[in-house]
């Protein structure tokens, strides 16, 4: 799985902890990384992804459906799951302010043995680390 993940576009380094099943992925500094592709790569390796958390830097925008989203690349944004923390970001929508957030992009649905790699990734904000 480590080799499979390491071959994915935009991946700089992969660290796997067999003890607790934790996989840490460091993206390339200038690379574009696709979390959905990583989730699929894990699935293709024969293991199940239970959770995926990210630390991302981006701008708060409204997506095509009118929901709040974090735009991390010009053509990539993640819809933000409404929460108390996301309410605090609404005022930054379509402003030049850049935020750094820690959030959960994927969690395996309870009761399912296999993860669905095609599931829509929505960002549940866990922590707003910085506003610039």
């Amino acid at each position: 799985m480590k080799q499979h993940l390491g071959r994915q576009s935009g991946v700089q380094n992969v660290e796997v902890s067999l003890l607790d099943g934790k996989v840490e992925i460091t993206p390339k500094k200038d690379g574009q990384i696709d979390p959905a592709q990583l989730l699929k790569a894990v699935y293709d390796s024969g293991v199940t992804a239970a959770e995926m958390d990210v630390i991302a830097r981006g701008k708060i925008v409204k997506d095509t459906s009118g929901s709040l989203a974090l735009q991390v690349e010009p053509n990539r944004s993640f819809t933000i799951t409404p929460s108390d923390l996301s309410k605090g970001l609404e005022a930054l929508q379509d402003t030049p302010t850049v935020v750094i957030v820690r959030g959960q992009l994927y969690k395996k649905p309870a009761g399912k043995n296999k993860a669905d790699p095609s599931a829509l990734l929505k960002l549940l904000i866990l922590e707003v680390q910085k506003k610039e």
Partner: protein
């Protein structure tokens, strides 16, 4: 003419720079079924 070009460059730069800095900085996953 040069002033106009410079102003245009500054404007474009200010629009592009924040997005150039936007990125995913770290990803952490918890997986099951690993041997």
């Amino acid at each position: 003419m040069n002033t106009k070009r410079l102003a245009l460059l500054v404007l474009l730069g200010s629009m592009v720079m924040p997005m150039a800095q936007a990125q995913i900085k770290h990803i952490e996953m918890r997986v099951e079924g690993m041997t």
